[in-house]
Symmetry: C3
Subunit: 331 residues, 3 copies
């Protein structure tokens, strides 16, 4: 299997096989399938679900994990090619990734968007460079412009709740957040839904439309995203409402500009009424962490439509499937 | 077994069974009893003994651990119900605890006192809320107002040194410390001694008496605490001297006020002479970490009466017993 | 086996046995030889290779590791004997090391130079005190004045590339670096080469000669170091060029003084031309992390002479050998 950087790059048959494996490991969670195997987690950013579920998953499969946190216990990493390292960074990824790779059987890397250039981040250069430096199986644990493990867990969650594939309506909606978050999850969620055969709607206030580079990714995955400005309207007939905060393209990587732009948008906090016209059994989704009562009201996330905990639990099952495929010859 | 939040809530028979299990695992430390099991450690505060002994213990029983540190590698947690999360906290415990629980077979949480309200902290609302959020076996790794794993280790240490139960005399004594520490360990130690059938004495300078809410806990566990102001007097006939620093109730959570109040109290540093009138074979105890030569002189902690290292080692054995009870069907 | 603090203290037969074991575990990396065993890693300083390779190595041998980071998840440690602990340090090594030792089967400690006194650091008092406090097998993971795991990996790397022992020429050369690094690796590398029977050359700009205490260590290991000021000259006939940054003895532990002293020395950045007169097949070495294009040019470290990734990978193999010797009765 190639490096796992984007769900949208998988063949439909590969996705089916991973989901079948996920069902298998959920039914029989403990085995010795990866006994003696070690998976490395190179975490350049914080994590709860990702680090915990990969560690628990490897352990349940009889294997082990090694967590490396540059700048907190490990050296601060340099990414620039050819730079003279006379400043704060202490080790180049050109050394760190091959070295780590020589200790482990596979490597996962979390590297959020740098936030300096929207155009550059949408190309996802860092995770691609790191994947090229790694001769072992490689998994993106969220990059500047994708979050493929989340996408696979979300696909499975939609299946779990029998959300229709073809003809299913998926609404990705912006939520209020104090910080200008990158586009990794919006892209991952919308391309997943498109790849799954669903119609994709994106709902956001003026100024917060997804950048063109993100929309192109959705189109390439098979859907022409429709744009709405009103959440209740956007959710008419919807089978899934996926809330997520992201930056305005005009204030990308700019916290002060973001603070200005989100003033007056406090109403973009999802609540149960948004699903008034949705299809029967419509589900509410969020990748977590969520800013409660800012992005989403307690009444929605704690209500009966919410499948956020199932999304999170599915991280464990689909990632164990991925590990079996990558390290256990179950590809 | 219910969530393990307080030793004093256990039935005597449960304590006996845990101590018998602890003896068993000390004699035969390595097994596969918890093979495939994963225990989560959610550490909101620093730890040496707790994190290391739970990790080592799970490994010796064939299982694994996942350590999550909010604010250092994981998201900063919010505890307030219903708050609008527009500030620094990034994930609510109402999401974090159920999510983590779905990855592991049991969860331990360390959440020290918030220090904002003495009354609130003595009710231990945070650890109780987290236990309610967790559908899996749950262990307090020290909360605002208790430290039940330490208490169990201390009980075993008293047994190891044949300190009498009924009629045994237990002295909890205040020591000088630069910071206003909470009442978790004083409460845990004194209620443990009371539950074990011992007479309980509390010795502290004026202004540093334990708050009424702490004393009530000791009474509920079966002892009427006697109060002394002079350590040598307090230790007349004592079988155990347990040193610990804590805040003045009048400067709880107030470092500057504490600094004022501990001026002139530098003599409250335990030394061998304090045990001059103690019972033969009396033991000196401390839960560690200890401020050497501030709380306790080297000569006492490194002397023959000291059982502090045995207390620390017993953490490993009693926690393995607890893990076998909670995760291994040995309850 | 005694605490492993310096390669130079091993008998030649011990080194041979460890290298034979390393070959064995490289050929058959996965086993259950250390099943149920736990190795503690007490990391007082950052690490990539050390922490990751010990964790991966223990896992591949069927055992486990516990990582403790004082000041980041664990208590800040005090080293001074007899001090009154009324300040920022929270736990004394006299407590922390015996306690940790009671949870694990062996302990590794990383404790870099304090940088306050050159003379004191060269005596390596901290690691020696910690080794004395530990009743279990003990490994230095780099101390003020040695890095014995690196030295063993470097020895094996020289063997791998058939670098001659007796008559082999080993050049240790200073490189430009923004910070005044200690002498641990220079001492470890030069004493390793001397112990291996090689001629040792040290090349550095004026003011950056190794301190006398370091040179004595090299002499005690069997070589009289020759001193050069010109890297190309120093490398005439060399079989190995080992680059490393270190402090000027006159600015030891003094970042501002170091910044002054390295001005104008930017040319001390190793590049392929330095090996123009070297022996055929000469290897380029560095322990990593390296400041690329400051200490060493990309063209050299990424070129065919470079064996830096093999050095790093050998950390895994030699440390697994060491763990088998210390914890597995394979001494």
């Amino acid at each position: 299997m190639s490096p796992y950087l984007r769900l949208a790059d998988l063949e439909p048959g590969e996705i089916d096989r991973l989901l079948a494996l996920a069902a298998e490991v959920e039914a029989n969670p403990v085995s010795r399938a990866l006994a003696g195997k070690v998976f490395g987690l190179l975490m350049l950013n914080p994590s709860l679900r990702t680090a915990a579920s990969f560690q628990a998953g490897m352990a349940q499969l009889g294997g082990s994990t090694v967590v490396v946190q540059p700048g907190a216990g490990s050296w601060a990493l340099e990414f620039g090619d050819g730079v003279r390292m006379d400043g704060a960074t202490q080790e180049h990824v050109r050394d760190a990734v091959p070295v780590l790779s020589s200790y482990v059987d596979g490597l996962g890397v979390r590297a959020f968007a740098a936030g300096a250039s929207l155009e550059a981040d949408l190309q996802d250069p860092v995770i691609q460079a790191m994947a090229r430096l790694c001769p072992k199986p490689f998994v993106s644990l969220e990059s500047a412009a994708d979050h493929p493990c989340q996408a696979l867990a979300d696909w499975r969650t939609l299946d779990d709740h029998e959300v229709p594939k073809n003809g299913g309506r998926f609404v990705l909606c912006w939520g209020w957040h104090p910080r200008p978050l990158p586009y990794a999850v919006p892209i991952a969620a919308a391309t997943m839904a498109a790849k799954r055969g669903m119609e994709v709607t994106v709902c956001a206030p003026e100024g917060f439309d997804l950048p063109e580079g993100a929309l192109e990714r959705v189109r390439a995955a098979g859907a022409e995203p429709r744009v709405f400005r009103d959440p209740v309207e956007a959710c008419q007939g919807a089978h899934a409402l996926y809330m997520k905060a992201w930056a305005s393209p005009s204030a990308y990587g700019d916290p002060a500009g973001h603070t200005e732009r989100v003033k007056g948008l406090e109403g973009w906090c999802a609540e149960p009424g948004w699903l008034a016209g949705a299809a029967p059994g419509a589900v509410f989704m969020h990748c977590l962490p969520v800013r409660r009562n800012a992005e989403v009201a307690d009444t929605l996330i704690d209500g009966s439509a919410s499948v956020t905990l199932r999304q999170a639990e599915n991280r464990l099952h689909v990632q164990k499937a991925l590990l079996l495929a990558l390290l256990g010859g179950r590809g």
